[in-house]
């Protein structure tokens, strides 16, 4: 489930998890989630290039930090595997205009409020934990 670019072992023995935007090497447009072709200049991304056998053509940029809440919901009917009573989800916009969906952990949310995006486990499964966005009022790292 983890995206091919989602895990980055920056510290020996202590993995750091990030979500990345990909940057088109020709025109510089940023994408999240990843695409295989830039919709501006039509430059292709080779999905095999980032698997360790070739240098990635597209730069990765950590997509975290300040963002703005666009809409949110609290959902009480969750799918298989989620055993909590409810979860909050939202859509946010980053200052670079990229948008993302993810988990919201903020009391009394209001559209337009500032949030901080950070990356935590959002879906715990045996041998396939998924790291993704949690949006909150504070950066608790």
């Amino acid at each position: 489930m983890s995206g091919e670019n989602a895990i980055n072992f920056e510290h020996y023995g202590e993995p750091e998890h990030h979500v990345y935007a990909l940057i088109c090497p020709k025109c510089g447009k940023r994408f999240y989630p990843s695409v295989l072709i830039c919709d501006v200049c039509h430059t292709r991304r080779n999905p095999f290039a980032s698997a360790g056998n070739a240098p990635p053509e597209w730069e990765k940029e950590i997509l975290e930090g300040p963002c703005t809440l666009l809409s949110w919901t609290r959902v009480f009917a969750l799918p298989e595997g989620f055993t909590v009573k409810s979860l909050d989800f939202c859509i946010v916009e980053f200052p670079n205009k990229l948008r993302a969906s993810g988990r919201l952990e903020a009391e009394n949310p209001e559209i337009g409020m500032p949030l901080i995006a950070h990356v935590e486990i959002v879906n715990e499964k045996v041998n396939m934990d998924h790291y993704g966005f949690i949006f909150s009022r504070e950066n608790y790292n």
Binding site: M1, A6, Y32, T73, V75, A77, P79, A100, R103, N123
Partner: protein, 398 residues
């Protein structure tokens, strides 16, 4: 280009039918359509091609290659047969492929049957199965579901256009009222504004499911099947059919971004607008020509948003028409006279076929008298896949 007619229609009741077999359900609807067309005994000579619309048989019912199973169950060998999966828009997609097969000349008569059996598994599993159509890394992995996306959409829509909880409840009341008069509907019990919105007990009767969407803002999980027999107007087979033909004058689809957050304005449903424009062009019609519509109200907000994208109302004003009763059966533009997905039910693969079944039934003047549209000429169905990323629009005319 050949004209394509609907010459037979079939339907099963919608509801929790998990005690039945999925192929039996689809077979029953198919035979109803062939019987309606008056060609039950001649079916092998009539049907050239079968398209089956289904979303979950492979995972939910552990049954693959469902088209072959259906053909054999109803004695239609040796026709051509394939299954079509396009999420909740599978039904209208199968009809579109049927129209394409006939217009291409590869077939004269096509049987299109949609069916689904979601209640064979727990709600936990069916919720997960439906959610699996979301973007796997950027949406689904978080536990997001279709109702989650609909709720995010609803909150924004309410804030921008002043739509109230009462408006959302009004849609549910209208749909339940229509469904109560539809013998095939899943939820036949009428509900009142007081019970679900304007009384002390409303919070209890109509609890939040995905804030701000409440129970009565979301369609039920339904099982059921629907079927249509299509035939080329210029085919010699047309002489066999007993019912007045209804023409599929326009049918088209369009796609949009997989992730909802990628849309420049998350409230704009481009795929609905584009599919509708393409269908209008094919039919040579405009929104003003449409007498009534079946719109994909899996979530009540979609009845408003889809009606606007289809050109029936200015953006952000459909709820005002709703308040003026313009979309009731006797209104200027009746919407979801069948009860819609909200109350007739939403067996995924069957839904798009069922919507067109309703168009034909109304255009023939055969709908139950209390929910019959007065003298309709053209009806539109909008079948909405994913959260608006693959939409099929069909116009039927008499």
């Amino acid at each position: 280009m050949r004209k394509v007619c609907v010459v037979g229609i079939g339907h099963t009741v919608f509801g929790n039918l998990h005690h039945l077999d999925l192929v039996d359900l689809m077979g029953h609807a198919s035979l109803n359509a062939l019987e309606d067309a008056g060609v039950l005994a001649e079916r092998r000579e009539i049907v050239d091609q079968v398209f089956v619309a289904n979303m979950g048989a492979g995972r939910v019912n552990i049954q693959s290659a469902i088209a072959s199973a259906l053909v054999s169950r109803i004695g239609l060998e040796s026709c051509m047969a394939e299954a079509v999966e396009n999420g909740p828009a599978s039904g209208a997609s199968a009809v579109k492929l049927g129209v394409m097969a006939i217009k291409s000349g590869m077939a004269d008569a096509v049987l299109v049957t949609g069916g689904e059996m979601m209640n064979a598994v727990t709600r936990w599993i069916s919720t997960d199965f439906v959610a699996s159509m979301l973007h796997h890394e950027a949406e689904y992995a978080y536990g997001m579901t279709l109702p989650s996306l609909a709720a995010l959409f609803t909150r924004l829509y309410m804030q921008r256009y002043g739509v109230t909880e009462r408006d959302l409840a009004l849609i549910a009341v209208k749909s339940h009222e229509n469904a109560a008069k539809n013998p095939y509907a899943h939820l036949k019990t009428p509900c009142t504004l007081e019970a679900i919105c304007e009384s002390d007990g409303a919070d209890h009767a109509n609890p939040i499911i995905a804030d701000p969407l409440r129970l009565y803002g979301i369609c039920p999980v339904s099982d059921g099947a629907a079927s249509l027999l299509l035939c080329a107007e210029d085919s010699p087979k047309m002489r066999h059919f007993t019912k007045p033909p209804v023409t599929i004058s326009g049918i088209a689809s369009a796609t949009d971004t997989h992730c909802v957050h990628l849309r420049a304005d998350p409230l704009i449903l481009d795929a609905v607008r584009l599919a509708a424009e393409r269908a209008y062009t094919m039919a040579g019609l405009t929104p003003r020509d449409i007498s009534f519509a079946e719109l994909h109200d899996a979530f009540v907000i979609l009845e408003l948003a889809i009606a606007e994208e289809a050109g029936f109302f200015e953006r952000g004003t459909a709820h005002l028409a709703l308040r003026r009763d313009e979309t009731r059966v006797n209104g200027r533009l009746p919407i979801n006279t069948s009860g819609g997905l909200k109350a007739k039910g939403h067996p995924l693969g069957a839904t798009g076929v069922s919507q067109i079944y309703e168009l034909v039934k109304q255009l023939r003047g055969q709908a139950e008298p209390e929910r019959r549209v007065r003298d309709p000429k053209h009806g539109m169905a909008v079948n909405f896949g994913g959260f608006g990323n693959n939409v099929v629009v069909t116009i039927c005319s008499r």
